[in-house]
Every structure is written in structure tokens, then in C-alpha cells.
């Protein structure tokens, strides 16, 4: 009898623990839901009031006068992200290919964590390096005020490099060794093997790494605010200053009140949607890989 009750006791205790763990496990998704609820309830009403068209397609950002055109910031974010890709993808991929195909395991074990260290450096430090070194350099050698699309792209490119490198290495390493061995046995060089066998095979992982890198570039705030110049006009050249969605929020949040503040949350809504789309795409591609 006594034995049975303790059995029952442990059973219900186990059930309770499972329930508790389930609640814990739902925390991440709950937080995500909570964040969306708050950002959307703060940002959507003003978009409805003024019309989505005005927010998405107007070039005029005069928030204190009731003009909330976010197009310059959307294009600004796009420009610096593309710029960051142009810098970061070749560097990241080259590193990943070199370290997996052409270097010894020892070198890889040392170099990979070192480059990953770049991801640990605070974004304010990147911004600072940008301000003290890159901004004057660009101004003196290329012209313009130095705070520019170009400067922001270079710094962001460096910042997303470790993401691309690290995930690409992982997906290249995850390929069955037979792919490589088979191709080499057929007389192909390492480069031919990489180009024609390994890269296509690891494609989805590499694409996922690039999309995640894009997400990081789109979402970066502090470094960009320090080096991009934050002008609300559309940049005509890559030497013109530019404002991104993120810096629009961080720059004006302090002084904003009323509709202006809501418009900044609307900026957050657009940013949030872009990021969620990128996340979902990355998630789907990498799931395809694991299959």
C-alpha cells in the first residue's frame, strides 16, 4: 500500500515537472509573441491612420509636421545591407573555403575561433573605429563628408563576416567526406571539387548563413548611427550620408512624443517584419539542409 502511494506521488511529481518544463519551454515563443504584440500595438494604429502607402512610399520624413515617409530609411537599410554583403560575403566565404579545403585542421582550429571573435567585439567599438579611422579616410580620399553608405557598408561587412564564415564552415564540414574523396579520386583538383561538388551540396547552409548575415546588417544600430551620417534624403552616391530604419528609431526616440513616437514604433514594425521574413527564410533553407 505504502509503496503504491509513493509510486503515485512520484508519478504526479514527474507530471508536474514536465508541465513546469513545458511552461519554461514556451518562454521563448511567448517572449516573441509579447514583443510582436507590443511593437505592433504601438506602431500599427498610426500606420492605419495615415495609410500604409504614405509610410512606405513617401520620401518626406518630417515627423514633427506629421509627414512620416519611411522610404528613405527603407532604401537606406537596403543600400547598406547590400553594401555589407558585397564586403562580407566574399570575405566570409573565402575564409570558409580556405579553412575547410586548403588548410590543415590545426590552422582551422585556431583561425575559426579567432575570426568568430570579431562577432564578440561590441558594435559600439566598430562604430568608434569607423568614426576615427574610416570616416576621415573616406572623406579625404573619396570625397563627401565621410559619413556615408560606403563607410557603413565596410563596417557592417566586417561585422557580418564571422556569421557567414562560421555557419558556412559548419555546413561545409557537415557534408559526408565521401563527396570530397570521390571527386578527388576521379582526378578533380581541390578547387574543382569545392566549386562543382561541395559548394552546391552545402548550398542551403551557405545561403542560410548569408541571410542571417543580412539580418544582422539590417538590425545593427549603434555602429550605423555613428558612421552613416543619418541624413533623411535618398543618397545619390555611395559617398552620401544615409539613414537606416534602426538608426531612425534610436536617433529620435529620446525626443519623440505623441505621433512622432508612434511613427518610430511604426519604423520598428517595418524592421520587425523584414527581420521575421529573413529569419523564416533562413530557417526554412537550413531545415532543407538538415533533411
Amino acid at each position: 500500500m505504502g509503496n503504491r502511494t509513493t509510486m503515485k506521488g512520484t508519478e504526479s511529481k514527474e507530471k508536474l515537472i514536465r508541465l513546469f518544463l513545458l511552461a519554461t519551454a514556451l518562454s521563448a515563443i511567448s517572449i516573441l509573441a509579447l514583443i510582436s504584440v507590443f511593437i505592433f500595438t504601438e506602431g500599427l494604429p498610426i500606420m492605419f491612420r495615415h495609410g500604409f502607402k504614405k509610410f512606405l512610399f513617401s520620401l518626406d520624413w518630417y515627423p514633427t509636421e506629421g509627414h512620416f515617409g519611411l522610404l528613405p530609411m527603407i532604401i537606406g537599410s537596403l543600400m547598406v545591407t547590400v553594401g555589407a554583403m558585397i564586403i562580407g560575403v566574399p570575405l566570409g566565404l573565402a575564409g570558409a573555403i580556405y579553412l575547410t579545403q586548403f588548410s590543415s585542421k590545426k590552422v582551422r582550429m585556431v583561425v575559426k575561433p579567432m575570426i568568430e571573435l570579431l562577432a564578440g567585439i561590441p558594435s559600439v567599438v566598430y562604430g568608434f573605429i569607423g568614426v576615427v579611422i574610416l570616416v576621415p579616410f573616406v572623406r579625404e580620399n573619396f570625397g563627401g563628408p565621410g559619413f556615408s553608405v560606403l563607410t557603413a557598408s565596410i563596417i557592417l561587412g566586417i561585422m557580418i563576416l564571422p556569421t557567414i564564415l562560421s555557419i558556412s564552415i559548419d555546413s561545409l564540414m557537415a557534408l559526408p567526406p565521401a563527396y570530397r574523396e570521390g571527386s578527388i579520386a576521379l582526378g578533380a583538383t581541390e578547387w574543382q571539387t569545392t566549386r562543382m561538388v561541395l559548394l552546391p551540396a552545402a548550398r542551403s547552409g551557405i545561403i542560410a548563413s548569408i541571410i542571417l548575415g543580412m539580418g544582422r546588417a539590417v538590425g545593427e544600430t549603434m555602429a550605423v548611427i555613428m558612421i552613416a551620417g543619418n541624413a533623411t534624403s535618398l543618397p545619390r552616391t555611395i559617398l552620401d550620408p544615409v539613414r537606416t530604419l534602426t538608426s531612425n528609431i534610436a536617433l529620435e526616440m529620446g525626443y519623440a512624443s505623441g505621433e512622432h513616437r508612434q511613427a518610430l514604433f511604426a519604423t520598428g514594425v517595418i524592421l520587425f517584419i523584414i527581420i521575421m521574413v529573413l529569419n523564416t527564410v533562413a530557417n526554412l533553407t537550413s531545415r532543407k539542409m538538415s533533411r
Binding site: I17, P122, I129, L264
Partner: protein, 280 residues
Amino acid sequence: MSLRLSPRKEQAIVRRLLFGLTALSLFILAFIIFFILRHGLPVISWKFLTQNPIETGKEGGIFSTIIGTIVLIILALVIATPLGVGTAIFLTEYTVEGSLTRIIRFGSECLAGIPSIIFGLFGFILFVTKLKFGWSILSGSLTLAFMVLPTIIRTSEEAIKFVPQAYREVSFSLGGTKWQTVSRVVLPSALPGISTGVILSIGRSIGETAAVIFTAGSALRLPTSLFSSTRTMSVHFYILAREGISLSKAYGTAAVLIISILLINVITYYLMNRFLRKYT
């Protein structure tokens, strides 16, 4: 490729090119660290580390910002670690792969991708204004905890998966319940791996600025309670550098930041390798 190089020659060129680009990445890293340390190390002294900032940081040290950073991060980890490890235990030990785990993983991955400025906005609206915590350590820690949660989930999950199945079987065969097995066998064995995730989160938190500045504020005084505002080292660095308050103090703060990040990376690297070697 249309140049019709022989495959060997082509490979030699590509190899050199790839090596050059990899070396460039390493050079950038080395340059950033060297640049900050060269200007910052001479500023660092015992006094710099133990004195409070005077005149908004123009004089004095960075003591209160170090304390602010530490308190903020410890509280964030106290909140995030149980949630993260709990999630990982649930995902690995208490359920089978299915739509529920997919949703949980998707949530965690999306959370990882959300930019810190969004966390900042969210924390500001919920904790600072709606719940009236004000700009405070509490608001900042909760926000940070949410940010680092995915890192802790992911690393804990992987660490738990690495614990050999045999360990669990032995425990079950000795009559251990599921929870006994998890809490007394699996978790202790996975601990080094889990701590890697926790330390990685410290690294991420130390460098965080956007989310912290909107939730924990930027008061320079030593915090006296969970409801006092505080300024972390990276926020302090950001303000010093941007406002041109003191370039040398800014370099000093940046050097302290970089050194902490380096240390954290070395520790995680070491822990991870030891952990992996134990089970593979």
C-alpha cells in the same frame, strides 16, 4: 575560367586568393584589437578601475560602470539560465520531435535574430513605462535576459544531446525516475557545455548598447537597488566617444571591454574543447 588555365594552375591562383582574403579577415581583427589596446592600455590603471567617473566621465575611472555591467548581467543570467536550460531539458528529454518542438525552436531562432533596438523598444514600453520599473537595472536585466535566452537554449540543448545515452540507461536501470536521471546524471554531465552558453551570453551582454541604453538608462551613480538606473561599460564608452567627453577615457573603457571579451572567448573555447573531448 574562360582563360583556360590548367586546373592545377587555376587551383594555385584560387588558393592564393582565398589565403589572401582569409589573411585580410584576420588582419582586420588584429588591427581592431591592436588599435584599441594600444590607445587604451596606457589609460588602464588600478585607479581607473576602482574610481567612480567624475564630471560625467571626463575625470576619474569607470568603477560604477563596471559594477553596473556586472550586476545587470548577473541578474539577466539569473533570469535567463533557468528558462534556457529548462527549455533545453524539455526539448531533449521530455518530448519527441514534432510540431511542438518545431514551434519552440522556431521561436527561439527568431528571437535570436531580432535586432537589439527592437528589444530596446520593447523593454522601454513594457518594463520602463507600462510596468513602471523606470530606467532601472531590473528593466535592463529582463530585456537582456530575453536577448540571451536563445543562446542559452541552443548551447544547453547541444550540451545535453552530447551526454551519452548509456548514462541515462544506467540511471533508469537503477530505478531512477526521469527527473532524477535528468537532475543527477544528465545535467551534471552537461554542465560544462551549458556553462559555455552562459559565458557566451555574458559576452553578448557586455557588448550590448542599444537595448540597454533604452531600458537601464545611463545614470553614472553606483546603483543602490534593482530600481536604480545604471550605465554599463559599453553605454559609457558610447557616450564618452560620441560626445567627445574624453577620448582617452573612452579608449581605456574600450580596452577593458575588449579584454573582457577576449577572456570570455578564451574561456568558452577552452571549456567547449574540454567538454567535446570528454564525450567524443
